[in-house]
């Protein structure tokens, strides 16, 4: 074939141009569909475990801090009811402690609301805290075995059969709601409840909002324990006529560390 430098350069330039634009177009198409896939995947994830489309039921709780300040025995009653119901062990060493619901000071529960001149009640008295059953739970996102997961009714549950004890969830939870069983808990359970399993060494456990009672139409054990004074109110946050929504409408409530975007389902009347 007879060709000269000029024609060769023309063909080379044109084919380079065609090649580049061609790959650009192909890239665009590929990434375009890739984005489409990713976003659809995201929306699916959100529907499963996030603040996406609202489901019919999202369980939540309102805790009246004032009532717990007034009666220090109240918190003890709630903690005792929970820990007895779920065979939560009581270890003598604080490092091994397992907690589902426990009492703490205001400044520890609400580090986003510091106050240089704290009122005396907040400084000295204690309020109950537990798993917040977040609408956007970071523990569920990090769990490699899906041992912790969100039920459709908003309760963040644990499947101890699947827990491998990696403790990613403990690192992810900003509320310290999870405890790890460093030792066999069996010998340290004070009163064994024969209707509920215990846990084994090497799994993480936490408050389950009494899912076994709630999904059977009953109230959580802590709510039941302080039912006389209604210091804890449990209900469906997605039902505008529920008791809990009525309280949330009437009272000013706060959530723990709202800036983290975990969307807790536990509200506190200050």
């Amino acid at each position: 074939m007879d060709t000269n430098r000029r024609n060769f350069l023309k063909v080379a330039g044109l084919s380079t141009l065609a090649g580049l634009s061609g790959t650009a177009v192909v890239d665009r198409l590929v990434t375009g569909s890739g984005i489409a896939q990713a976003s659809s995947g995201e929306s699916q994830g959100a529907a499963g475990a996030g603040p996406g489309k609202p489901s019919a039921v999202r369980y939540g709780m309102v805790i009246d801090i004032k009532k717990f300040y007034q009666d220090p025995g109240l918190g003890e009653k709630a903690v005792h009811a929970c820990h007895q119901k779920h065979n939560v062990p009581k270890f003598p060493d604080k490092r091994d402690e397992i907690k589902w619901i426990w009492m703490t000071k205001f400044e520890n529960a609400f580090p986003e609301n510091p106050n240089l001149y704290q009122d005396e009640e907040s400084a000295t008295k204690r309020l109950p805290i537990m798993c917040n059953h977040c609408d956007n739970p970071p523990c569920v996102r990090v769990c490699p075995t899906k041992a912790t997961f969100r039920y459709e009714d908003g309760i963040v549950g644990m499947d101890y059969h699947r827990c491998i004890g990696c403790r990613f969830c403990m690192a992810a939870c900003p509320y310290g709601s999870r405890s790890f069983n460093w030792r066999d808990p069996r010998p340290f359970i004070e009163h064994i409840n024969p209707d509920y399993p215990s846990r084994t060494r090497g799994v993480v456990e936490k408050c389950n909002f009494c899912v076994e009672l709630v999904q059977a139409g009953k109230m959580p054990a802590c709510v039941e324990a302080v039912a006389d004074c209604k210091a804890l109110v449990f209900g469906n946050l997605n039902d505008p006529n529920s008791e809990i929504r009525k309280i949330l409408k009437e009272q000013r409530t706060i959530q723990r560390n709202p800036s983290l975007g975990t969307l807790p389902s536990v509200f506190y009347i200050v």
């Binding site: 459709e152 059969h161 399993p197 846990r199 999904q215």
Partner: protein
């Protein structure tokens, strides 16, 4: 054959050695287990042969339905309702883990980890 005086006794000793399990357990051996059945309950959620072969699968299905899907209803067999639960159903009739569960599990040399968490009824 060279050295047949050593090889043949050697082979006999070898064959005897690798068949130890067969002749050691001959006669005595181990008898099939006899789990103690509950006296007052006559019916189970499945026929005996089926539950004997499939109980571990059934328990896994129940576990996933109850714990993960939140389907905490009951199963109805012959008009009677049973909760889908090891502790709240199975162990209410089979009240003795050692005389029921463990007899076969030990015989078959399986070590289910159910009892690491689930509580056997107090004997």
């Amino acid at each position: 054959m060279y050295d047949s005086g050593k090889i043949i006794p050697g082979l006999i000793i070898f064959v005897l050695f690798i068949t130890i399990p067969i002749w050691y357990n001959r006669g005595g051996g181990s008898e099939p287990p006899k789990p103690v059945l509950p006296k007052d309950a006559k019916a189970c959620v499945l026929p005996a042969a089926e539950i004997r072969a499939e109980h571990m699968k059934l328990l896994n299905v129940w576990r996933d339905e109850v714990l993960r899907d939140g389907k905490r209803g009951t199963v109805t067999v012959d008009g009677k309702q049973y909760p889908k639960s090891l502790m709240l159903n199975c162990m209410k009739c089979h009240t003795n883990m050692k005389q029921f569960c463990d007899t076969c599990h030990t015989y078959a040399s399986v070590r289910p980890y159910c009892w690491d968490c689930h509580l056997a009824p107090v004997e």
